[in-house]
């Protein structure tokens, strides 16, 4: 399939922009905001900090091996404790004691590089089990490079993280797909830029929205807020010289 050129701007919709909008006093509500029993959350605010640890491991091991390591560990964790959202950083940190019981030394060591980096950079509790040879500066750099690479949810790296989690959930029987609806994750990895990959990306994003619930409690947001506040304090603003 021919690869599409990346365009700088989204095209104008080929349907009336206000189509389907419902008037509510002085507001025109678009159809998507009228879906009942639906909460909208920000991916960058409340999901990305929870899954960026996957990016660190994908960088450390490489894509294929990284997916293997992560999915095996998540499967083991879910088999032992099915009601914990093990893919979420905040849940891993909150269940550090259970983690050290369920996983053996080698398995803990396999994921330590990521969680040690977070421990050193963000001083977040529950990660004492994670050890690493990284000094604090190196750990910070590791996290920073991962955030820079994986933050764009429309780009390939982020989608490989989400795909890894979906794959892990699927092999742990936490997620099932009807025939013909399995996202073509391979297309994201090997055929990025093609129509096939774009369809797979939409599928993966839709899956992540359905399967990454946010309970809205203060505790669940604590980590995400801490993550971004620390990043904001410890790095400077940057400017693209050629931007208008």
């Amino acid at each position: 399939m021919p690869k599409k050129e990346k365009k700088g701007r989204r095209p104008i919709p080929n349907y009336p922009i206000l189509e389907g909008h419902v008037r509510d006093k002085k507001k025109l509500i678009p159809p998507i905001l009228g879906i009942p029993q639906t909460t909208f959350i920000s991916t960058i605010d409340l999901i990305f900090p929870e899954i960026v640890w996957v990016g660190i491991l994908l960088e450390w091991y490489g894509l294929r091996e990284g997916i293997e390591v992560i999915s095996k560990i998540l499967k083991k964790l879910w088999n032992a404790q099915t009601n914990v959202n093990w893919y979420r950083f905040s849940e891993i940190a909150a269940n550090g004691d259970k983690l050290t019981i369920i996983l053996n030394e080698e398995e803990l060591a396999n994921i330590s590089v990521a969680f040690a980096a977070f421990r050193l950079t963000y001083d977040w509790p529950g990660l004492e089990w994670a050890t690493s040879h990284d000094e604090a500066e190196e750990a910070k750099r590791r996290v920073e490079l991962t955030v820079r690479k994986y933050a764009n949810r429309f780009d390939q790296p982020y989608l490989t993280v989400v795909s890894t989690i979906i794959y892990a959930m699927a092999i742990a029987d936490k997620m099932k797909f009807a025939t013909g609806t399995v996202p073509d994750i391979e297309a994201i990895v090997i055929d990025w830029g093609s129509d096939r990959a774009e369809m797979a990306a939409c599928s993966v994003r839709a899956c992540s929205m359905a399967f990454f619930p946010h309970d809205g409690s203060e505790e669940s947001e604590d980590w995400c807020k801490h993550f971004w506040r620390k990043n904001y304090q410890t790095s400077s603003c940057e400017w693209n010289e050629h931007a208008i």
Partner: protein, 267 residues
């Protein structure tokens, strides 16, 4: 560079001269219309002067020809155009309402100052303002006979006024876009005073900046256009015709000259 600078100065001066001439011709000892309808004649004449003042204010100040400042002036000019056309649908009634509203607003402001002084505020300036306001009000009507209108002066919204004058596009495509600038809304500030940080660790926050742009002559054209539309309404009502260049004609000639002088300097 100084020649180009001078060329801009001459450009602005030519336009201001044309605007001033067009106004003077229609206001200096102008006795068109019905001499009995004082309110109508006063309102139409003074609003024309106001529109001319706004146009001159813009034309003579090249540093205002940017998205930061020009829309503030232009939105006021569009507002005036809408008001002018709307008054002309029922000039006797509406010009009186327009005047009454202004007197009532000034009366309310004066009452607020009065309350401030009674509450113990010490300010000789406030007392002087009060006295000046009251003198201005009572030069026209005893304040005890003036009602204070707390709603809109027309009893209608600007959008409905535009519907009534038969020009809804004026509201949608002229008034509303510039309103964002006037009210410092995000769809203005987010373009003219925002720069997106490229650090992904900062979640693409916007940082305040003043966009630096070269003066945009099109804003001056807009000012000439909205002035000319009011002149047209004035001339139509009073069945008046002038031999002077219209503001747009003057603009086209002036911008042609500016362009030639500019290119000469570049060469």
């Amino acid at each position: 560079m100084s020649t180009q600078y001078d060329a801009i100065g001459r450009f602005g001066f030519r336009l201001c001269q044309n605007i001033s001439d067009n106004l003077t011709e229609r206001t200096a000892d102008f006795r068109g219309g019905d001499g009995f309808e004082t309110a109508v004649n006063s309102v139409l004449s003074t609003l024309l002067a106001r529109q001319s003042a706004l146009a001159i204010g813009l034309a003579e100040s090249p540093l205002t020809w940017s998205g930061h400042i020009a829309p503030l002036v232009l939105r006021s000019m569009i507002d005036l155009l809408i008001t002018y056309r709307w008054i002309l649908l029922d000039p006797r009634q509406r010009s009186q309402e327009y005047i009454s509203y202004g007197l009532g607003t000034e009366k309310l402001l004066t009452a607020h100052y009065q309350q401030k002084l009674e509450d113990g505020f010490e300010g000789a300036d406030v007392k002087r303002i009060m006295e000046a306001n009251m003198a201005w009000i009572e030069s026209q009507q005893f304040q005890m006979f003036i009602a204070v209108n707390l709603g809109s002066w027309s009893g209608s919204s600007v959008r409905k006024m535009c519907d009534e004058i038969g020009d809804p596009d004026l509201y949608k495509f002229s008034y509303t876009p510039f309103s964002s600038c006037v009210h410092n809304m995000w769809n203005h500030v987010g373009k003219w005073n925002a720069r997106t940080c490229d650090n992904p660790l900062h979640k693409q926050h916007a940082v305040g900046v003043i966009r630096d742009v070269w003066p945009i002559v099109d804003f001056v054209f807009r000012a000439c256009k909205y002035l000319e539309l009011v002149l047209d309404e004035f001339d139509r009502y009073y069945e008046y015709s002038s031999n002077l260049d219209t503001p747009i004609t003057a603009f086209n000639a002036a911008v042609q000259e500016l362009s030639e002088e500019w290119e000469k300097e570049d060469d």
